[in-house]
Symmetry: C2
Subunit: 441 residues, 2 copies
């Protein structure tokens, strides 16, 4: 029975930041315990493709235990964290209290509804796998119901899809949704005139993709419009209801689908933990990623508010990954009696896909649009996906979608037993025939 | 405006029977309306592989509209049928009344709980895609909870998995589950002694696979036992609770998982429709598959009780498919003024998989066991799957599983927000450390 005690590092959250930290720490003389509410890691850059029936959810969700097979010194537990006590150095989950020597908070971000009435209740966010599947089911259900809808204005409402927020997520989703409806599903609903469907993207500022150079934003807008998306700039949403979206200029658009990609903030769970947070819920940390008052506590990823060269780092996967490694390295240094290093984040570039053959890339000195940017986007996302099998199947799905315009994941699954959405409408003529009535189709 | 009226055929249910009938009727001068509660067709022979994390649910669920792209004269609507009125010739769904000239009922079967107390509330059936995913999530959750469980007897309960019913479904699931736990997951849970896990298969009769020749049943039992399954014959279950299964001989086994594969009956929904049903809920039809009192109404698939050569046909996919075609053909004949033909079912054979390299096949004159039967089973199931892409990915998954013993679909998804299952247990030593306590792992 040895009395040697290794230091214990607890990492909360197995997203890009948490998982990178755990893997980096696997080579250090520490015990690592990684916690996440789910037993899988989500590759969130491809969430919009799950929501538009292009990819199965399982392809972008990798069981964490399988990732950790190679790292036997990293333990994992499926647990939701309720509370952190930085003074007493423990983490409270739903069924345990876990003490730590070092803590890395990597809880990520939540959707930010900007105080818009009705947004929480009626809009569809796109931050988690479950939200992506819920949105996909909803879109398909709208189309199914539209086939049976007799009232033309209600039918138009079901076929109107709105997206609030023209950043990368909103742009990528809008492009993919337009391709789903106008290119792919048009073959599955021969009785439905999908030309009357609308995909509308609202942006509060005066360009899409505000973090990108202006010419890329303009290109993205043109490409979206070519694919059938209506882009409405300089417009804020003032209210969301179950069947309309209200704009600040008093206009309203009747729609059954409002997708919320308008903002992110630090994970709201962190609010009650007594940590120094900024206005958007991110936790403020030193350039070494430590809390200034509790140097054993590190924060990485979307949850962390870090400055570099006078600017706050963006909420990106690559930022989270580099921060995870830096935090891990700093913990290792501290154990060896050295001082912590500041994060030196190196930005490779940003890519955003609009749709088939169309993407934009800002690589610093170089910008790209069109086919080459699109290939680069596909490549980057495939190689960063976890698991050879998942990569292979994502490529197969993309080939299928590209050549056959088939979205093979067009399932409404799981089906909700009672859909609160659509009740008791009279059906179209197709279903009711009286004696001698002529046949119209 | 033409006044020509084609006859309308309404088909309820898009399983093997309904879909075969719809496709056969696509060449006939009728209008076809196919209804199903879900917008996808489920390839049920592979459900057990979804439940044991070997296949994604989407691989065995194919959107019906995509199947019907090639058949523009077959309409589809997602609708749950509440009532059939054979006298007035209409079908009532949740939001419409649909009149018909001919009706094909293909609603399939439901799990039969045999009046066992607690079976409905606490057991896990395996008839639908949702049930398969629910079961998979539950199995993985049991393992996650077992890693944190301090009480040894509760831990053993979480690691005990029981299956009630030793027909093909029970045998196939038991074999796959044993491989999941003893071969695959053992690498994901290094802290958990999975040798204490148990997979127990109960059969009321004296052999497994009672419809197969005796030597195949014995082979199947031996193979299951080699894989670690405990086979308990001549034992009936008398009660199921949330943490145990009670046997008729007064024994009880503590378990958190009771999988119910003990019986099927005609879809219980059909009970209230005033049709002539047998004791197990199947609808009795003539050899032409028509109701004797209402010749425009046909019943096919698991819901139909049909005699051939003095024996009732079994509930098999191949039976349903041939019946679907026969019903379709008979409707076409009737429109052309001819008489209906009796079903002439031709049985190709039955295969059941036990696990890697092990299956049994009863092909009439010839029986097979072992590797060849296994390859044949794989082949038959892959070619009958809908969709080239799905077939390709199923093959990839099987290769992965075979060579790497990785079940890549090990996700607990969707996660239930509140798990009623496991609350507030004290955790193991790992999480709690006091000053000077030695490190045990």
């Amino acid at each position: 029975m040895t009395t040697f005690q290794r230091k214990r590092v607890v990492i909360v959250g197995a997203g890009f930041g948490g998982l990178s930290a755990a893997i980096a720490l696997s080579r250090s003389p520490v015990e690592v315990l990684l916690l996440d509410r789910n037993n899988y890691h989500t590759f969130s850059p491809l969430l919009h493709q799950v929501a538009t029936a292009e990819l199965e959810p399982e392809l972008i969700a990798y069981p964490i235990r399988k990732v950790l097979r190679k790292y036997p010194h990293v333990q994992f537990a499926t647990a939701g964290v309720k509370r952190i006590d930085v003074a007493s150095k423990f983490v409270e989950t739903s069924n345990s209290l876990i003490t730590y020597d070092y803590l890395i908070l990597a809880c990520g971000s939540s959707s930010h509804f900007c105080g818009v009435p009705g947004a929480i209740e009626y809009s569809y966010p796109l931050k988690t796998l479950k939200e992506a599947v819920t949105l996909r089911n909803h879109i398909l259900r709208c189309l199914e119901q539209a086939t049976e809808e007799a009232d033309p204005s209600r039918k138009r409402q079901l076929l109107t899809f709105t997206i609030v927020g023209g950043g990368a997520t909103g742009v990528e989703f809008a492009g993919s949704l337009a391709e789903l409806i106008f290119d792919s599903l048009v073959k599955d609903y021969p009785g439905l005139d999908l030309n009357q469907a609308r995909v509308i993207l609202f942006q509060s500022g005066d360009t899409l993709l505000p973090e990108m150079p202006k010419h890329l934003s303009i290109y993205a807008q043109k490409q979206l419009e070519r694919k059938g998306v209506e882009v409405i700039l300089q417009t804020r949403v003032s209210q969301v209801t179950s069947d309309a979206v209200y704009l600040e200029n008093q206009r309203l658009i009747r729609t059954s689908t409002v997708v919320w990609t308008a903002g992110v903030r630090g994970n709201y769970l962190a609010e009650g933990w007594g940590l120094p947070t900024s206005k958007n819920g991110q936790v403020e940390v030193l350039p070494t990623l430590q809390l200034s008052d509790y140097p054993q506590v590190y924060v990485v990823g979307d949850l962390a508010s870090v400055q570099q060269d006078g600017q706050k780092l963006l909420m990106l996967a690559q930022v989270a990954m580099q921060q995870g490694k830096t935090a891990a390295n700093n913990i290792t240094r501290h154990i060896k009696g050295r001082t912590a290093l500041q994060l030196r984040y190196r930005h490779s570039g940003t890519l955003a896909i609009i749709g088939r053959n169309a993407a934009v890339g800002d690589l610093g000195k170089l910008t790209m649009t069109g086919f080459l940017a699109w290939i680069l986007w596909l490549y980057i996302h495939v190689v960063n996906l976890v698991g050879v099998r998942n990569r292979l199947i994502v490529i197969i799905n993309w080939l299928y979608s590209y050549f056959f315009q088939k979205r093979v994941v067009g399932l409404i699954f799981p089906r909700e037993e009672t859909s609160p959405f659509y009740r008791g409408r009279l059906t179209s003529e197709f279903y009711r025939r009286e004696e001698g009535e002529t046949w119209k189709n």
